[in-house]
Amino acid sequence: MLYLDHVSVSFPSFRLEPISLAVENNDYLTLLGVSGAGKTVVLELLAGLIKPDGGRILLNGTNITHQKIQERRIGLVYQDLSLFPHLSVKNNIAFPLRRKGLSKDRLLERVKELAAETEVSHLLDRSPGTLSGGEAQRVALARTLAADPEILLLDEPLSNLDVKLKADLRKLLRRIHQSGKTMIHVTHDYMEAATLSNKVAVIQNGRLLQHGSPEEVFRHPRSAFVAHFSGVKNLFPCRHDRGEGGEGLQTALVGDGVRIRYYGERTNEPGFLMIPEQEIILSEEAVESSAVNQLRGTIREMNLAGPGVEVIIDAGVDFVVSISRHSQTALQLEAGKGIWLNFKASSVRFIGD
């Protein structure tokens, strides 16, 4: 298990606040945050490329905070990959193996195994400068795996790749993870986190805002930043009417006075309301149902989104609703049509400022 215990570091223009985080063996943790949030700093601390000002890093119970880079067994695949330009692909992959005292035949055999695993067997005699982005990414992975690290760190591994290459590389990363490797993956794309990892940690301005399973973080964000960053589209600043609410059912006002009811503790504080787009039901008429929130709106825009349709409805504020194409046809939805939005109070979540 990897454990960061109140690890912090300061630079003239950036400070990573004390961060505590546990990564179990065979976890796939995604560090999620915008550029400059401090994600890469965390990776560099783990790899030993920078030294923390405070706290400690434990790997399987051993304090590795001040251990030399080359002794850590934490492999880092840089965002720019840092392939050695003067060595062929074969010699790049062989680089970590040369210190292991393998025979020439065994070394070559191992290089071929790793190349096959990462699907770069046909590139072994090429120079790194001649590789495409996807090929170079795979070679960098093969080279880091050759060092047999206990933990694999990946800095934005899917950035700068096209959709097809991203899908291929995601498959490869899953396969490496399934082989038993503990992985920490830095990204600014919550979809990567949702599709690859079993743990997510969100970092902003050098602070760890929230961590847990993707379900916990994405469904129950503890801050507006996390909610917004998690791809939640219906996130509205709200205020409360003094004296309203009671028995757990609260009323908040969004936009120019659109009233939305939710369950939560009574408060007069402003904050944000979050309504998952898939929890909103559309109907042509106002219907009797268990949904206490019923709003009349007008369709502003409809966009194809994967297998379904994303409908943007102006109901005082712009709601985003995901529906199937079948529902779109059945309800004869089109821009300008009036429509009712229905959602339960229990689907709405209030997040304090």
Binding site: I69, Q70, Y78, S82, P96, T144
Partner: protein
Amino acid sequence: MISDWKGTLFLAGLGGLILLFIVAPLAGMLLNTSGSQYVETVADAEVRRSIRLTLLSSFAGVMIFGLAAIPLAYLLARKDFPGKGIVNGVVALPVVIPHSAAGIALMGVVSRNTFLGQAAEGAGITFVGGVAGIVVAMAFVSIPFLVHAARDGFAAVPEKLEKAALNLGASPWRVFFTITLPLAKRQVLTGMTMMWARGLSEFGAVIIIAYHPMVTPILIWERFASFGLSHARPVAAVFMIICLAIFVLMRILSGKKPESRHG
């Protein structure tokens, strides 16, 4: 920005004058030496001995002092330490001081009445009037060329590659010899070539420490002083041709694009 053709022609004319300034005396020297003079000079044992001594002494200086100069260059490129600016200045000193003054300064360190001179004598090494003195004098005036070129070469190697190599489990020594040095190789070799070439032409510092055995610049001067231009010119021409040939060859070898290593 000068973009019209008249401006370009003006710049080309000025550049041509500079090229002429460099090429004309050298071409004149080569063309004013007859074929028979070339043959006689090449056959002259004293000239051959002198050229061999000059080439080898400068080469020895590069090899011996390079062992410490290259690590120093790496240190200057990679590490920050108090007094780094002073160290950089000290390394550049031999370029700016008159070379005869450099010879006098070296004499103060390696002459027979100094500790180092006596210790060297005890070990069978003679600086004053000896090959060791020639090597030291040549290295003293030419070492900045190696340190500066190698320092710039090391500085141009992305530090990230070194850290990536460490992250892959390599020791710092292995990182230096397998990543840093190969990637800075071209500039290190250029520096070595420049140091060697500068050492070959050294006259002022060498003549003070070791008039004999006679290196070629001193031989040329001696023949000029004793017999005149017509006797000095063939030696200078032959020496220049040999130096140029070696220099061009080394430039071609070190200028080759690095190839990926296979196998």
